[in-house]
């Protein structure tokens, strides 16, 4: 089994889930509580990775961070090397790719929080930010864990985006799913089977955790 690929994959999934927990919360809060009439435009953008072929998403990310784009040039001037085909580039792509898997369970959980509780908190002099951390987060823990776990599990299994943005560099961007593909290409079915079984077991275990924890919170699309 390719332990280096496994290590890269878990590092990537863990970092992706962590970053999504930080940036997903404000996005989900805004999506839930904003009264802006054009909010659905943002909602659709967040949900895009659910339906877009990973290669399409990967292609645009590759172009956006490549040496011909201002973002790509700024990054390579700053760090000294370009973003594509590096772990950081792959992390950025994973974050975008798994965004809906974090934001939608977060938003679904926030939606379930009784508005009257939030209003009661405001009238007690507690600011909107403090109300979020003292009231909304504790009432949404199941949804927050679900979102983090799902984005972790989703990153474990991503293939197309990794191939487009990360390439296949041992120890840097070669993830488990790419490794399985390589093994099959080399007709090493026994090696592929072991790694595939590991991925299956981890993914199933993670989903078991989510569903056992709270079957009510996770919906693929938050009901409005």
């Amino acid at each position: 089994m390719n332990w280096i690929a496994i290590a890269v994959t878990f590092k990537l999934a863990l970092l992706t889930a962590t970053v999504l927990l930080v940036i997903g919360l404000p996005i989900a809060y805004w999506l839930t509580f904003s009264k802006w009439r054009w909010k659905f435009i943002v909602e659709s953008v967040v949900a895009l990775p659910l339906v877009l072929p990973p290669t399409v998403l990967g292609f645009y990310i590759l172009v956006a961070i490549g040496p011909h784009s201002p973002v790509g040039r700024f990054y390579s001037d700053l760090v000294g090397h370009p973003l594509p085909f590096t772990f950081e580039g792959l992390l950025l792509a994973s974050i975008l790719y798994s965004l809906p898997f974090a934001v939608q369970p977060f938003a679904a959980a926030f939606e379930q929080v009784d508005r009257r509780l939030i209003e009661a908190s405001w009238t007690l002099g507690v600011s909107k930010l403090k109300t979020f951390f003292r009231l909304i987060v504790p009432l949404s823990t199941a949804g927050l864990i679900t979102g983090a776990v799902l984005s972790f599990a989703h990153t474990l299994g991503e293939f197309g985006v990794v191939l487009m943005v990360g390439g296949n560099i041992e120890g840097e961007t070669r993830t488990v799913s790419i490794d399985i593909y390589d093994e099959v290409q080399a007709l090493n079915y026994a090696g592929a089977a072991k790694t595939a079984l590991l991925l299956l077991a981890v993914s199933y275990g993670v989903l078991l955790l989510v569903y056992a924890m709270n079957r009510k919170v996770w919906v693929v699309w938050p009901q409005r």
């Binding site: 009257r116 209003e119 009661a120 908190s121 009238t123 007690l124 002099g125 507690v126």
Partner: protein
């Protein structure tokens, strides 16, 4: 100008209704203002505008020298900045926090010791001892109401806003807690606005009553005035109690109380009449008029008096009889002719004790 809460509030819910209310509540001495009216009359909306949870598109709310909302100059003071105690209808206790946690929720800017002291004080005041570490879901309705009150008054608000404070309770608990709430409001001496659709609550708790219907305030006045001399027919219909007079309980025999109203003795029911000062409330349709000197009936009250006024209302006639106090009755036109009633006639008004409602009032 004395400090006052002035409200001029215009809020439209497209396709539903418009709330357009003007109101002034003098703040010194602190009084309890009742927003009274049927459901859907805009009471809660007005209360939420006061709490800063709804934004009227036109108008102004001024609390003493602070402007809370002024649509014209785009001033919008957040609910956090208003120093209010707001209690929504179903209490909205935080399910993740214990009783003590709920009460101290708004006190996080106090030092720990002062915060603990304040929570202890409130637990004592509202008799919640022993429940400090219990979650709201395990409390009875009455206990939840007291926790919500404690939480609302914990920060020593300058205005208390209570939305149907007793409606979530069963009837016996409600009567008991209503008297307790009245004593608490007097003790706290904080100006309060209380929403209710229950006339007994309005009379018990209120110093001033504002009658609302279809988003408008129709009549503002002292409780007795609003109930016994409603500004117009609509107010009269909303309040539904035509006779409200002050009386004193002189005897209470297991809930059957004898009340003295301006020299006239009446028997009435008041299971929870604590103290002697009461409002005596009688609906006009519960009053039977009979000719003087006629037979014995089961009604406990037979009051003879002079007819002072007769107002025809469709097929009915509204008769006012002076029997030590003005008593209002409605009878049909046919009954009026049979009895030969004219202004100045002597009649006997018969009222069952069960139709004489006694509501405690501040002496």
């Amino acid at each position: 100008m004395a400090a006052a809460l002035t409200v001029d509030c215009h809020k439209t819910f497209p396709g539903r209704f418009t709330v357009a209310a003007q109101l002034t509540l003098p703040l010194d001495p602190p009084r309890v203002l009742i927003l009274f009216g049927p459901s859907g009359s805009g009471k809660t909306t007005l209360l939420r505008c006061l709490a800063g949870l709804e934004w009227p598109e036109e108008g102004r709310i001024q609390f003493a020298s602070t402007t809370w909302i002024d649509a014209a100059s785009n001033i919008r003071l957040s609910p956090q900045a208003r120093r209010i105690g707001y209690m929504p209808q179903d209490y909205a206790l935080f399910p993740t926090h214990t009783v003590a946690g709920n009460i101290e929720y708004g006190l996080s800017d106090l030092p720990t010791e002062a915060r603990r002291e304040r929570v202890r004080e409130l637990i004592g005041l509202l008799e919640l001892q022993g429940l400090e570490q219990v979650k709201p879901a395990q409390l009875s309705g009455g206990q939840q109401q007291r926790v919500a009150l404690a939480r609302a008054i914990a920060r020593r608000p300058q205005l208390l806003l209570l939305d149907e404070p007793l409606s979530a309770l069963d009837a016996p608990t409600r009567a008991k807690l209503c008297s307790e709430l009245r004593m608490l409001l007097k003790q706290l001496a904080i100006p309060a606005v209380v929403v209710t659709h229950d006339w007994a609550e309005a009379l018990t708790l209120g110093d001033i009553i504002a009658v609302m219907s279809a988003g408008q305030i129709l009549h503002v006045g002292a409780p007795q005035e609003v109930f016994s001399r409603p500004a117009n027919a609509e107010v009269a219909q909303i309040v539904g109690i035509e006779t409200v007079v002050q009386g004193h309980v002189v005897e209470n025999d297991n809930g059957l109380a004898t009340v003295l109203v301006n020299g006239t003795r009446l028997k009435g029911l008041g299971a929870d009449v604590s103290g002697t000062a009461v409002y005596v409330c009688i609906r006009a349709e519960d009053v039977l008029l009979e000719q003087a000197g006629s037979g014995v009936t089961s009604a406990r009250n037979h009051l003879s008096g002079l007819v002072t006024e007769m107002l025809p209302q469709g097929v009915l006639v509204k008769v006012t009889v002076d029997c030590g106090f003005p008593l209002r009755a409605v009878i049909t036109r046919g009954a009026r002719e049979e009895l030969g009633l004219e202004t100045g006639s002597v009649v006997v008004a018969a009222i069952k004790a069960g139709a004489v409602h006694l509501v405690p009032r501040s002496a």
